[in-house]
């Protein structure tokens, strides 16, 4: 094996075609995860009776185990549950008709939900209690106060964490290869083994991920600047 710099470019071009798959997985898991995370965070902040221990257990379990085990558990466990239910209730739907990428979406959303809930929670907790009290004092209801006063500030406070989570999910999406989804990592593996040029192919993949990560960071910095406008010190 000899190092072949020109192959890095060849591999790079071939990898470009699968960037959308990686991005789909990332975006779907982040968006669904954000929804789950917000629900879980609100349950935990308001200590909703029955749901509170469930939410806490969910977050602990997900954050205490590797993302890979979530994916494998969903991949092997979900078909069993669905098929069991389908036989029991006589549905025509079978787990085999779920596309492979569906498992990645489901499991990564569940993973992202737990991490997002911590992001949302720390963001909400970072807002001074006085803000909520002031909102109540001028006659807003709690939902109004949350929507108009707390959430914008919480979003600004949690933006760095949010971008870290997005990057985390982007990097986590490389695990999708274990359920035979062809994302950047899997494609790099294919390109590498068909051409017997492993180093070059993975270097190209690394460069793509590096670029994507830097892009996300830059975008987050821009949004943060915009969203923190209200927070400038000094005279108006």
């Amino acid at each position: 094996m000899k190092l072949d710099p020109s192959f890095i470019w060849t591999a790079f071009l071939q990898l470009l075609s699968v960037i959308p798959t990686t991005l789909y997985i990332t975006i779907v898991s982040v968006l669904v995860g954000f929804l789950i995370g917000t629900c879980v965070a609100l349950i935990r902040i308001y200590k909703v009776p029955v749901l509170y221990p469930v939410a806490a257990g969910y977050v602990t379990f997900i954050r205490g185990t590797p993302m890979l085990t979530h994916l494998l558990l969903i991949y092997f466990g979900l078909p069993m549950i669905i098929d069991g239910l389908a036989v029991h209730y006589g549905w025509s739907f079978r787990a085999a008709s779920i596309p492979m990428i569906g498992f990645a979406y489901i499991s990564f959303s569940i993973t992202a939900g737990a991490y997002m809930s911590e992001v949302v929670r720390s963001g909400l907790l970072a807002v001074d209690k006085g803000q909520l009290e002031a909102a109540h004092a001028v006659g807003m209801t709690t939902p109004q106060a949350l929507r108009r006063i707390v959430c914008p500030q919480a979003l600004a406070a949690s933006l760095p964490n949010l971008s870290n989570s997005v990057i985390g999910m982007l990097h986590g999406s490389t695990l999708a290869f274990t359920v035979s989804v062809v994302d950047i990592n899997a494609k790099a593996q294919i390109v590498a083994s068909t051409n017997w040029k492993f180093f070059e192919a993975y270097l190209a993949a690394a460069l793509i991920f590096w670029g994507l990560t830097v892009l996300i960071e830059r975008a987050a910095a821009l949004i943060e600047k915009r969203i923190n406008l209200y927070n400038r010190g000094g005279v108006a």
């Binding site: 094996m1 000899k2 190092l3 902040i45 308001y46 602990t60 379990f61 954050r63 205490g64 185990t65 590797p66 993302m67 890979l68 085990t69 494998l72 558990l73 092997f76 466990g77 078909p79 069993m80 993973t111 991490y115 911590e118 720390s122 909400l124 907790l125 970072a126 807002v127 001074d128 209690k129 803000q131 909520l132 709690t142 707390v150 760095p160 964490n161 870290n164 989570s165 990057i167 985390g168 982007l170 990097h171 986590g172 490389t174 695990l175 990592n185 790099a188 593996q189 590498a192 492993f198 180093f199 993975y202 270097l203 993949a205 690394a206 991920f209 590096w210 990560t213 830097v214």
Partner: protein, 261 residues
Amino acid sequence: MGEPFDFSYVWSFLPKLLSTLSTTLLIVVSSLLAGIIVGFIVALPRLYKVPVLRTLSEIYISFFRGTPILIQLFLFYYGLPEILKLVQVDVTRAPVLVFVILTYGLHTGAYMSEMIRASVTAVDKGQVEAAYAAGMTGYQAFTRIVLPQALAIAVPVFSNLVIALLKDTSLAFTLGVMEMTGKAQTLGAVTQHFIETYIALALIYLVISFSIEKLLGMAEHRLLRHEDRNSPVKKTFGIHRNRSYRRIIAEMESGKGGVGL
């Protein structure tokens, strides 16, 4: 898929998986040590603003934080022998574990250096000034004043990093290392009881990360003795701040998800 679900298998798989726990912990501990050393070396140029070295360490951190650990594993496993071949060093016979530990060490090193930098800069500047005013030298001020406080700030981030590292080691199976996840996959393939093996696997990881978190939580408590110990008042409802400001700062800067990603 596979055999019908039978929960009793979870118990019988636990000891089998635990037999490979030592490999997992070996990877965690050795790459943690490597990571701390690398982290210090990388953090120093940024703390002291050494011209060229600073840029280099920024690139290093950006690369290791900007690419997935899985890609890094493959990159080092396949790339390092080729690069070393150029300087006439043959490492093709080195055990896989060496590459794995090296990669995880360098990966953690990048996060460690960020942690070190963040916690040193988080110590109030007035503290150093006060130390100087009291007549301490720069070295004394660092070891007596800055370091103890920086340590306390770093602990929550450190605990997140250790847990993140523990969970990342589950990827070492891709290079054929027989650690817990690799063992779980072979067990699943042999017995066709996939779900039970993965439940057992998840349980083990959960217990380990939980104990790491608790242990380091105790360490943090001890290191923060100097802070005010009136426990914050718990408000019954709504948005509140009931944790130390430092803990929030630490979480904000960790960059690698809580009980990590």
